[in-house]
Symmetry: C2
Subunit: 669 residues, 2 copies
């Protein structure tokens, strides 16, 4: 009710919405009229096409069918199809970084044409076309328009950590579909970490047998997944994180470790690391990399390299002796030595090394790629030193930031703004990162989407596309569309609320959930080390959207109302209705909170929401009167509401600030 009313208002206060395409294309020229999509719709590829492009076109027709409910029948190639597709030539059999992804889409009232140098552009253009389809008074239509489009950065990725929590392939595949919808082109597969080794090695089967609790991908599955991604214009970048973050290796191969063990996936104690001083380590790694280099066709290979705390190295006298014998100053030098040897192995197997920003070291050749997670500066430093780089700092989806915060991060802004064009060209793009400390197959979609689309737009669209309101408008439309492609980023919350509520009605629970977001950053881990990776992820913090549209709309509404001098009666009525719903919600919800052990912890949040509603209503009443609110009342209410900012149950109420604004506004200007 709350969301509905606010959404309706938002829609009503808008004039012509922008073209609801995300990421926004490079250039858009509106035309006149619209093309009707009905049962007669047909599509034909008259230029280059192969089996992969044909499958892409079939997926497009199937998706158009899902969106419209029209069961398009396969037709003999039409002489004048509704949509004519023309690719000039084929694409690389292994997708290359920097392959031309441009396309041109022209839609008139009588037909559409999509041209591109190669099928990658065609795939992107088809996604743009799908986003343009809307029901109108005349049927399903797409507006007449000419789009010329190409990406700003050639590397636009999403990292998915499948080690901390295993994510099955069907979930990953629907995420590939969604990535394709927003024109992302790299799936960075974080396949091993302390908590799990997730791919079958035939050379070293104890890796998955002892390091995965049975949750790993077979090589057959990997090949199928890579082919699935390739069909969608997505490269698959494997990451095996070494020499740190590698405890899962040591269950099967303890000889790799720098310390004596024994090792368990649960861990505890010092962070183990591989022993970089032993030739046997490199022998195993070479055989392993030889195997994986064949399994993963991409030219790049990610070796992790982050967060080596060096404690195991320091505790091992042999390693210390090695360090001194080789005149190394510190653990960084030792890791650089490891990386140099590793890089040679990778080069032998025709792979370009990628690693986290800790690997940056002058001893490494310039053709490696540095992925910056600790800050933008390391990206700049790398580019200045002649290294290629990727930005992930600012794109960590697990931090539960709002989309706008990620959207504001640009690989070429801040310190990067001083780079010269040649240095600029070394910044290949970036990757959103879905680290999986608190992610399950059930809720991962909602942790990635729709916010990941804001990162996708930042990496695809021109730098000057940065209007936040436009982004949120298009993000909302995209979010609805993404459910058609099988994502559960919206629907899973309902199911999770139902789980907590049993067979009771969840309406009042939803009102509370709409005002909540998970705590930001790493606050969830505070005082809870080590993390229990087998804990059920079935609490409200796991169900709540990382960014509540409802709370954001309420904040915007209050701000607009106050900026307009508190004179907009319709806005006030909406605000009042919401506040009444909150005030009354705790009483309605309380029996359910008492009934379910999963909901107990929400009691203070529910009380606080009611108190906020009450305080806001009192403030509104003062705003309606000519006199100011008493100072003592304001002081009391500001204190009362301030304590509602304290996170409870790893959740934070996102509507305290607008209530405090209402309270403050009832006093002197």
């Amino acid at each position: 009710m709350f969301t509905a009313a606010l959404l309706a208002l938002t829609a009503a206060t808008q004039s012509q919405p922008p073209l609801k395409v995300m990421p926004m294309p490079s250039t858009v020229e509106p035309g006149t009229g619209q093309l009707v999509i009905d049962r007669s719709f047909s599509v034909a590829a008259t230029g280059f096409h192969d089996a992969s492009l044909d499958r892409g076109i079939q997926r497009f027709v199937a998706q158009l069918s899902r969106q419209t409910g029209i069961p398009f029948r396969s037709k003999a190639a039409a002489a004048s199809p509704t949509l004519l597709i023309l690719a000039d030539h084929g694409r690389e059999s292994v997708q290359k970084l920097g392959e031309d992804e441009s396309y041109e889409l022209t839609i008139t009232g009588s037909g559409a044409q999509l041209t591109a140098p190669n099928p990658l552009g065609i795939l992107h253009g088809l996604e743009s076309f799908l986003q343009l389809v809307e029901p109108s008074a005349n049927g399903f239509t797409v507006p007449a328009v000419t789009i010329k489009d190409q990406p700003r950065f050639p590397w636009r990725g999403l990292l998915v950590d499948v080690s901390r929590h295993f994510i099955p392939l069907d979930v990953l595949k629907r995420n590939l579909d969604a990535m394709a919808a927003v024109k992302m082109n790299v799936l960075h597969w974080h396949l091993s970490d302390d908590q799990g080794f997730r791919v079958e090695s035939r050379r070293f089967p104890k890796l998955q047998e002892m390091g995965s609790e049975g949750h790993y991908y077979t090589q057959t599955e990997v090949r199928d997944f890579v082919a699935y991604a390739h069909d969608r214009g997505i490269r698959v970048l494997p990451e095996f994180d070494i020499p740190g973050h590698s405890r899962s290796w040591f269950l099967g191969y303890p000889g790799l470790a720098s310390g004596p063990g024994p090792y368990t996936l649960e861990g505890g104690g010092a962070d183990p690391a591989m022993d970089p001083t032993l030739d046997s380590t490199y022998k195993l790694l070479e055989k392993f990399i030889a195997e994986m280099a064949k399994l993963f066709p991409d030219a790049y290979f990610h070796i992790g390299g982050d967060e080596v705390d060096g404690k195991q190295w320091e505790a091992n006298p042999k390693i210390q002796a090695f360090l001194h014998a080789h005149s190394m100053k510190n653990n960084q030098d030792l890791q650089a030595y490891f990386n140099q040897r590793l890089q040679k192995i990778l080069a032998k197997h025709h792979k370009i090394m990628v690693g986290w920003d800790e690997i940056l070291h002058p001893d490494l050749p310039k053709n490696i790629v540095v992925q910056s997670w600790r800050g933008q500066q390391s990206l700049v430093t790398a580019a200045q030193q002649g290294y290629s780089g990727l930005l992930s700092h600012g794109y960590y989806l697990d931090l539960m930031w709002p989309a706008a915060q990620h959207y504001a991060v640009d690989p070429l802004s801040d310190s990067a703004a001083t780079l010269n064009p040649e240095e600029n060209s070394r910044i290949l793009g970036g990757e959103a990162c879905m680290w999986a400390e608190w992610v399950s197959p059930e809720n991962i979609d909602s942790r990635i989407w729709p916010r990941n689309a804001a990162v996708a737009e930042r990496l695809w669209s021109p730098q000057n596309i940065k209007d936040v309101d436009s982004m949120y408008t298009r993000l909302a439309a995209l979010s609805l569309r993404l459910e058609w492609s099988g994502l559960t980023h919206r629907s899973a919350r309902t199911e999770m609320l139902r789980r907590m509520a049993g067979t009771e009605d969840v309406a009042a629970l939803r009102v509370l959930a709409d005002a909540l977001e998970p705590v930001k950053g790493y606050a969830r881990a505070n005082g809870k080390q080590p993390i229990d990776f087998h804990a059920p992820l079935n609490r409200m913090v796991d169900a709540a959207y990382p960014e509540s549209d409802a709370a954001r709309h309420f904040r915007d509404l209050v701000q607009a109302y106050l900026q307009g001098g508190s004179t907009d009666r319709a806005a006030e009525a909406h605000i009042r209705a919401t506040l009444i719903a909150w005030r009354d919600n705790d009483a309605a919800l309380r029996p359910l909170l008492e009934q379910s052990f999963l909901l107990h912890e929400l009691t203070p949040l529910s009380e606080n929401l009611s108190a906020l509603g009450d305080a806001g209503l009192q403030a509104l009443d003062y705003l309606d009167r000519p006199e100011l609110s008493p100072e003592s009342w304001r002081a009391h209410q500001l204190t009362r509401t301030e304590q509602a900012k304290t996170p409870k149950a790893d959740l934070v109420l996102m509507v305290v600030a607008p209530i405090q604004q209402l309270i403050a506004a009832s006093g002197p200007k």
Copy 2:
């Protein structure tokens, strides 16, 4: 809002709810306390088990994990598992009619035990267990209870027509899962009809190549599907509907037909039928049946046999000559001749013939099974003549009846009540039927579920289990649970409303949808023959639930309020809130109705709902006053509301009657 408030009220007015198991078990003895399901939960089968039962137990654990969000880890067989499973012996490799399906489930505060003669009972008991799991103040728990359970009828089926609209296997599989959840044990697969031939024949490939538009199941897929069903305790009964309903055969094999053709799947004109006078017909059928008899292991084989209108036979002089030469009186005799020859072919291939009630003819042997679709009487007649029978009359889900109407139909009531025990035993059970004139992969779940569970309970539970309120309470709980097993019977409506509304908010559209149901019976076909089977099924009639819980709750609420002498203030407040929402909804919805071509047709329904809200509010105001409403006002309002009963856009407003009751109640008693 409307639904939520009513559901909350319904829950509040209830005291101890019955055990939320559906179908209700034969005997239930409540115990004391409850068993907690937490991370330590374990299950072990110590009696007979095989790979199929092991898979069943794995599915149970996976489903329990979905329901609770607890990631149960595979453990070494626990010495004292939380749930101990004990099957006495194995089941038949091809599931037999009448195999023992009984089980006994004992749950105490410290553990649970499930015993059964064979794995079929274990599978049923596991489903009962899953339905008992609820979140409580102490964690997820199941109540202490002893259940002894067995089915009333051995044949509890669901027919799915995949000819009129092709239904992909993933959709059918999730329906098998749901059937298993309600202990149904026969999937009757209506594989051929005029509009499509849906299975691969290697002997006669033109059947699927020319008769399916590319939408058919390969033999590999069929084998996989049959195995999937077997794992879930479900037999697969294939139906090839002959000699009528067989146009799809004639595209590839026109020599089978009684008329000259040419034939298309779209059809039109007389209903074609096979020529029963030609030996070539039987030669082809024998080879075909030989092939299908191997593909489908079930002992039974359904040959359709319904609705042979005989027009093609009458128009064919050779057939008429044959009829006279063999001293046949009419087309029925000719069909009986066909069936006799067919039955001999089936017997040769070790199959028992099943057919629709038209096949009942004294010339056929007693071991055939007659499926009654035209009325209960044919079932009785068959039983009296020594034939076995199945009831489907009264269980046609495509008629859009409320669950209670199906629930009231009992295979052994009405005219069957006069049968003696031996005749009774010939009534094997029944089948719900999902005919697919207006069904798509997208909405079929919502056409079958949850109403099918009412039929499942009728066929499983003791005859005296017939309390409608209890049924609806348990059906509501089951309906929520079924979404955990992958059905989309609830969620698909939201997606379909979104399609109609584009990216606009659907809250007001949902208010209207909640008051609507599709027209009943075959009214949708009125004046629209022949049906266009390629038409998009994307209108509100395709999205609206066959039975609106919200409308039913409102009717119940008004009835209870009026029966209580209009004194219940809380009930009145709920009724008033709903009526206000309806009255105001049209204004909110109108812009959207004008914006989307799919919603235009709902305009009169939206107007009528507002008018009903307005009339109801006036009536409530009169009920609040001591004086009666004026007779002229009542007459006017009854006329005004009466016209709202007229279906529009193949939809009917389900809330006219309670408004008229309010109007009438405001007058003299």
